[in-house]
């Protein structure tokens, strides 16, 4: 209870519901959504929960989940990363190109190289955004054009090499013959992200996204923290590229549209564009939901073409209900009564 006054009767029921909503966290709707989708999948396809096919589902979702974790970092700090799709494409193409020149390169080295390159892309995004004060939407949009242009310019339009099995095994194969490496990657990224968000970095990141000035005056190195978020996003995108390359091989359009899928996943997870609120686990659950939705639409055999219409409706409805739903109501009213600190860009 707060110091001043006992709650009035009018506030009673609202605050009970509010408290419940708060306990569930802002991510509550996404868990419901995910549960519904998984149940629907179980009904549609009884075999869905057999270990093999469930692991295969996670494996397939892995790149998007990892992208969502990275995207979450940027969004929660108050930005956008539109360049992740291009990073995935560039990563796949560059990997193949690299193998074209050095067919015997050890896979670990190439993977590490790609992750480093992804980190560097993130670093550049971060520096342009924080030092040159370019809104991140524009920075990463520009980066997307630059990466797509540069990688195809470099490869003359299509990659020249073949990805060897050793490299692809990470995205394609299984550890111990049954547990896909991709599932391990998701678990590792999830654990790392969860830990990061509990650690100093994550808490300062959230505070930065919530109130940059307050964070700066509390000694947070705001540019550094935000840049680091981009670096993480870039690295996550590169990891997703390694998984995608492993899962399905060389393709010139491996990452097409992934940036929008990742942002949608994060928003489905109840994370607010503009920063400061939301949990990384919910964001990853958002990615699983999205993948479950794709799978469900696929299994349901919704006329292939109408699939995106259904997807559009569901995303709008889910986000809309999340925004106007019970926990959201008080939040919005609250926000409106305070002058907002800028829009969801930067």
């Amino acid at each position: 209870m707060t110091t001043t006054t006992p709650p009035t009767t009018t506030a009673g029921p609202a605050s009970v519901v509010g408290a419940l909503g708060r306990r569930l966290g802002t991510g509550a709707p996404v868990y419901v959504l995910l549960a519904v989708l998984l149940a629907a999948l179980a009904i549609t396809d009884p075999g869905f929960y057999e270990p093999d096919s469930f692991l295969a589902f996670i494996k397939r979702a892995a790149p998007l989940v990892i992208l969502a974790a990275g995207q979450y970092m940027v969004i929660v700090s108050g930005g956008f990363d539109l360049s992740v799709g291009a990073v995935v494409t560039a990563g796949v193409v560059a990997g193949a190109e690299f193998y074209g020149s050095y067919p015997d390169a050890p896979w670990l080295l190439v993977t590490a190289g790609l992750l480093l390159a992804g980190a560097i892309v993130g670093l550049v995004n971060g520096l342009i955004t924080t030092v040159l004060l370019v809104p991140s939407f524009i920075t990463t949009l520009g980066m997307m054009l630059i990466l797509e242009g540069a990688v195809f310019y470099w490869t003359g339009g299509s990659p020249q090499g073949v990805l060897p099995e050793s490299f692809r095994n990470f995205g394609r194969g299984e550890a111990g013959g049954w547990l896909p490496w991709a599932v391990l990657a998701v678990l590792a990224v999830g654990a790392l992200a969860w830990w990061l968000m509990r650690a100093d970095f994550g808490r300062t990141l959230l505070a930065t996204g919530d109130n940059e000035r307050a964070a700066a005056l509390a000694g947070v190195r705001v540019p550094r923290v935000r840049t680091l978020a981009f670096v993480l996003s870039g690295t996550a995108a590169a990891l997703a590229a390694v998984l995608v390359a492993g899962f399905s091989g060389v393709s010139a359009q491996a990452g097409r549209g992934l940036e929008f899928e990742a942002i949608t996943a994060v928003v489905l997870g109840g994370v607010i564009l503009g920063g400061g609120r939301g949990s990384v686990v919910a964001a990853m659950a958002g990615a699983f939901s999205l993948q479950a939705l794709f799978t469900l639409l696929n299994l349901q055999g919704v006329s292939g073409a109408l699939e995106s219409t259904v997807q559009g409706f569901i995303v709008i409805a889910a986000v809309g209900l999340g925004a106007t739903g019970l926990p959201g109501l008080s939040r919005l009213r609250r926000r409106r009564s305070q002058p907002s600190e800028g829009k969801s860009s930067s």
């Binding site: 209870m1 707060t2 110091t3 001043t4 006054t5 709650p7 009035t8 009018t10 506030a11 605050s15 408290a19 708060r22 650690a199 100093d200 808490r203 300062t204 959230l206 505070a207 919530d210 109130n211 000035r213 307050a214 964070a215 700066a216 005056l217 509390a218 000694g219 947070v220 190195r221 400061g276 609120r277 008080s330 609250r334 009564s337 305070q338 002058p339 600190e341």
Partner: protein, 495 residues
């Protein structure tokens, strides 16, 4: 003409107004006074349709209104000049003045009429320095305030004009012009609700005074039949002085922890300051005298560019808050929501923010609970989001945040602004305890009684430099004399 009857309002379960009633006659200037957080602004926002009251009615000229949007209140003839500006910095003066009610001619906004009318209104205020087509961001704050006033006047057929601390940022000659204007408006039969902390203005202008305290109406007094002392007593509800914790014993005052010599920057000059362990130093000054600039410089947020500074005997040249924090300096800013808190984070996360950002908290998370207990925080738990706390408790979180970092020097800028009476006393006690624990404390406050009550010595600022220093027990007049030494006209009490 206007009656507000039994108005109540709660925010998230905290009742801010308890059945307040108020009436206003045509041509009357009715002053509304009360301490920070007494609910004045909230009451006026209810009147202006920004908040819907939980209970109570508003009757204007015999019609009962239930406003759900500011537009409806405006249409009914109620204009509100905001305490916090509601101006668009990138739009012109005329565009701001007529925002929401632009004159239209043949389908298009009649810029000419808009600018002409704005110019006329400005002329009425004798504001010749503002061209209607200037961008608001290019105006000084005082002029921006003038634009706010003009904006309220431009609303068609204003019957009731609410002014929430309109003179706060104005210079004295501007205040005089405003007085003249208010009188003219009143003569036209417009009822004016006037909120101010400056009692002299209140007595100069008003016919009646309503005093609010903790969201309740204490009294409505006829100005001619009352004195400033009566009003203050009604506001505070007890005798001043009994209210503050005892000052430091000279024996408790220890080593200098922070010194500056000849320090200055573009806004400050000749700052020679010594803050000692165990001592509470007050900083007084008029609006814009440089008090905030001083604490921000000490904290490295807008650092000194000249002179020297030492903290705990070691030279410190903070280029930013981080270095200052590492050196053991902490700053509780005046803008709690904008600069002090991440409102959507939990109490615990806010309290740990500095430690995490600067020292790397890691395992310390547990220790924060003790701290929050120490500052006497009342919340639903440490996972509660800070935005749902009352102002006083929010301030306690800010203080806890700094204490967690173990500072030697604590700077407070308006530490009790917008904080209710109970929390205020708690903060005062806490500040004193911290000094007892050996920290050097500096307090900036515009509330002179608070400053006098809390400080072991008072430094007075004027024009970005020190105008003098007074020992404990100095009176308001002494302070004001120093504060206004360079100004031609003395200003009234700052609180």
């Amino acid at each position: 003409m206007l009656t507000m009857q039994d108005v109540s309002k709660s925010f998230l379960g905290v009742r801010v107004l308890h059945g307040v009633s108020l009436d206003l006659e045509p041509g009357e200037v009715h002053a509304l006074v009360g301490e920070n957080g007494a609910g004045k602004s909230t009451l006026m926002k209810v009147l202006a349709g920004e908040y819907a009251p939980d209970e109570g009615t508003i009757t204007l000229d015999g019609t009962v209104h239930a406003f759900s949007h500011p537009v409806q209140a405006q249409a009914a003839g109620i204009g509100l000049i905001h305490q916090e500006f509601a101006l668009l910095p990138h739009r012109t003066v005329a565009e701001n003045v007529f925002l929401g009610r632009e004159p239209v001619r043949r389908g298009f906004v009649d810029r000419r009429a808009m600018e002409r009318r704005t110019a006329e209104l400005l002329a009425e205020l004798d504001e010749t320095g503002i061209a209607p087509h200037t961008l608001v961001k290019d105006l000084s704050v005082a002029r921006q305030q003038t634009v706010e006033i003009v904006k309220a006047l431009a609303a068609s057929d204003v019957r009731v004009l609410v002014m929430d601390e309109p003179t706060a940022p104005l210079a004295d000659h501007e205040v005089e012009l405003l007085y003249a204007l208010i009188r003219r408006l009143a003569a036209r039969g417009i009822g004016i609700l006037y909120i101010s902390h400056r009692l002299r203005e209140v007595f100069d202008l008003s016919r009646r005074i309503t005093v609010l305290k903790d969201g309740r109406k204490v009294a409505t007094l006829t100005t001619a039949e009352t004195t400033a002392d009566d009003v203050v007593r009604a506001m505070v509800g007890r005798e001043l002085g009994s209210y503050y914790p005892p000052r430091a014993d000279p024996a408790e005052i220890g080593e200098p922890l922070l010194t500056t010599a000849g320090a200055g920057n573009e806004r400050l000059a000749g700052i020679d300051l010594t803050l000692r362990a165990g001592e509470v130093t007050g900083v007084a000054g008029l609006q814009g005298s440089g008090r905030t600039s001083l604490v921000r410089a000490l904290f490295g947020a807008a650092p000194f560019t000249r002179g020297s500074m030492t903290v705990a005997g070691r030279p410190l040249r903070p280029a930013g808050p981080r270095q200052a924090i590492r050196g053991g300096v902490a700053l509780v800013t005046e803008d709690r929501k904008g600069e002090g808190l991440a409102l959507r984070q939990s109490v615990r996360d806010n309290a740990l923010l500095v430690t995490r950002a600067v020292h790397g908290a890691g395992g310390q998370a547990g220790g924060v609970d003790g701290l929050l207990e120490r500052v006497n925080l009342r919340s639903r738990g440490h996972d509660q989001e800070v935005q749902y706390l009352s102002g006083g408790n929010q301030q306690k979180v800010v203080i806890a945040k700094w204490l967690a970092a173990g500072p030697r020097v604590l700077l407070f800028d308006e530490p009790t602004r917008g904080v209710d009476v109970g929390a205020k006393a708690a903060i005062h006690t806490l500040v004193r305890e911290l000094a007892r624990d050996g920290m050097a404390v500096l307090i900036v406050s515009s509330e002179l009684p608070e400053l006098i009550g809390m400080s072991d010595r008072i430094v007075v600022m004027a024009d970005g430099t020190f105008a003098g220093e007074l020992p404990a027990g100095a009176g308001e007049e002494d302070i004001m004399r120093l504060a206004t030494a360079s100004d031609a006209t003395p200003e009234g009490s700052a609180a």
